[in-house]
């Protein structure tokens, strides 16, 4: 070690800089990473079970999943994500103009969850329940966990909307909610292609 290493010239320290990523956004990104791994665990488990199935997938005699209806519902969910993206863009320009797209995002998200609920009721009626086969188990557990995330996200979106109306919403808070909702929206198509198709 030479003398110069310790006496290296340093920028004169300044006061607190604004952080690169606001803390609450960073925290949500980290949390979402865990969530990503969580769903990756579910997906890999599902793929193992599907790959091992000897009598085809879904097993013979099991009700068919509603592929077309869910495709429509998928579009609704994706549209909700787009609406929230637009809300974010508008918020930076004129905060109050973000109210409309926020409401649309919340509406579409709620529609998605409600639609799933109706679908579940039908499937149960057709005889697909949690314990009939691993097919049923994976379907309800994975779709159910996704729906749980969606419901929590709807509450978060509504919380952000309330703050927006009260003019106390800050950009980083909106971004935090966006990160979570984009994750929930983004996971769904993968789930759809894996489980329904």
């Amino acid at each position: 070690m030479t003398a110069s290493t310790a006496a290296r010239p340093r920028p004169i320290p300044r006061g607190k800089r604004p952080p690169l990523i606001p803390s609450n956004v960073l925290a949500m990104v980290l949390f979402t990473l865990t969530e990503l791994m969580f769903f990756a665990g579910l997906f890999s488990a599902f793929m193992v079970a599907k790959g091992m199935a000897t009598d085809g997938w879904p097993p013979a005699g099991q009700p068919r999943l509603p592929v077309e209806e869910t495709a429509f519902n998928t579009v609704a969910l994706l549209a909700s994500g787009v609406a929230l993206y637009i809300a974010g863009r508008r918020f930076s320009v004129a905060p109050q103009s973000a109210k409309m797209p926020m409401l649309v995002a919340i509406g579409l998200a709620s529609f998605f969850v409600a639609f799933q609920g109706v679908e579940w009721v039908q499937l149960v009626g057709e005889g697909l329940v949690l314990s009939t086969s691993t097919h049923g188990s994976f379907f309800y557990v994975m779709v159910g966990l996704h729906a749980l995330h969606a419901i929590i996200a709807i509450f978060a979106l509504y919380w952000a909307y309330r703050r927006l109306k009260a003019e106390t919403l800050v950009k980083s808070q909106l971004t935090t909610v966006q990160v979570f909702w984009f994750f929930v929206v983004g996971v769904w198509p993968v789930l759809y292609f894996q489980i329904y198709l």
């Binding site: 960073l26 925290a27 969580f38 890999s44 199935a53 557990v141």
Partner: protein
Amino acid sequence: MATAAPHAHDHGHDDAHPEESWVIKYLWSTDHKIIGLQYLFTGMAMAIIGGYFAYAFRMQLAFPGESVPTYGVVSPAQYNAMVTNHGTIMIFWVAMPVLIAAFGNFLIPLMLGCDDMVFPRINRLSYQIFLLSALVLIASFFVPGGGFGGAWTSYPPLSSEAGYSLTPLGSTIWLLAVALEFVAFLLGGINFITTTMNSRAPGMKYTDIPMVVWMIVLASIIFMASVGPLIAGAIMLLFDQNLGTHFFDPTAGGDPLLWQHLFWFFGHPEVYVVLLPAMGIVAEIITTFARKKLFGYKTVLYTAIATGILSFFVWAHHQFVAGIDPRMANLFTATTVLISIPIAEMCFVYIGTLYGGSIRFTTPMLWALAFIFEFLIGGVTGIFLGASGSDIYFHDTYFVLAHFHYTFFPIAIIGTFAALTYWFPKMFGRHLNESLGKIHFWGTVIPFNMIFIPLFILGVGGQHRRIYSYEHFPELFQPWQQDLRVMATVSLLVMLVFQALFLMNFFYSIFKGKKASKNPYNANTLEWLADSPPAHGNFLHLAEMPVVHRGPYEFNHPDRDEDYWPQWLPPEGVSAAPPADPEPAADPEPADESADQDADQDSDQDSDEESAS
């Protein structure tokens, strides 16, 4: 104090507590130091429970069927439950809360030179969930059927079918407790990472961060990246136990191996989650007491990152005999042998740090040196297990058990004692008694080796793990084997007696020990600038918040008369106050800070109310 900013009281009921009662101060605190101590004391209490279990089942192994003093006769079901919960407690309720949560909470804000974590209330929630998880786990011992006995790895079908485990309630509550504990660590980990990213003292570059902070942050990242699949598995297991699904039941299309993959995908990274903080602690101690710069700061850092990444690709070495494809076993043998390289490298770097230093054999230094020595034995024996050929023989013998105790004991016990004796003056403002500390050191480390070396021998001799009594296995019940078992158990008793000595020293010194100065070891990192113990808000009462001017390990620098050069001292010839800066620089003043975090839900509450006193 400028902290009584007016915005503090707009949250309604939450902030309206009348006076600072004991409960508010110690159980409802958002102060990172108090939360760190809460984790520490909870972890110590759990260690006593885990240690008591070890005492009871080791007595059963040495003297099968006889009544154990203070416990009574150990039944097979109780034996299984105690072994299971000993492992669970030591890993999830001792190693993690103490090494990561207790020291992480206490040290990170102090070492980074800020007043608290970024999210103090999430931090408080983290501890509360952790405490709840500990209580839930303890409750699981007392439900009808008794505590869960299917091993800490909880393989199905033993864990999923009540017909096999015979503990339907115990299994479920055990699983819930573990899940709660993970939530607590998730919240804590997010806090650690965010704080380190966003709250460092001005001037602190990435390479100026003390190694222990880096290691805790890396451990948190590894934890967060690996725990997801296990949570997924735990949910599936919970459904199998209670809701009639068949994820892990091969008779109904499920696959028990699936659990093993999900568990070990987390389980192996987990060993590095606890290893890295201990490595960081040792780095702080050996540099201070060898009075030398850490040999290869960046090497250690990059090595730790590489280890963390590699640790995600070795998990199947726990499943060599579980029926996985032998070609896959070869791959995992290769990755496992690879991962011993960075670990060995870190040990060499530490030895390189010691080389040529002026070493002071204080109690923390003894612990740190013992860590390197004992951990090496653990790592070397891992290589035999990592080679699938030899593991076919060693798997599920006491050789495995001795291997992981030679890794975990140095980490969780030796590492903790190193940290506790080193930072004790900072935590409690007083010194531990050195002579008692050294007696306790030898009284722990010598018996430790005498417990586990016999178990290595027994393991090589073919003694299987998780067996209640060897009486019914004549070839495992030879006199020489029983002698070794008795030797291990007696050594354990000796070790436990010396722990009582430590507890006496610990509690006596908290109240009556010699008063400690701010920087008793002449160390460099920022926590030594704060008072001992640090006041609420850490540095807020000083004239200004710390500013960092150099790396954390500048010992014996040729340009300087003193043999240490704290991070906070401005370069010679420069006045303490930052000189005229072309930009209108805001001084790092607390008031300022709360203003720019105004938006932030969690950071604004605590400093105001509690330091207003």
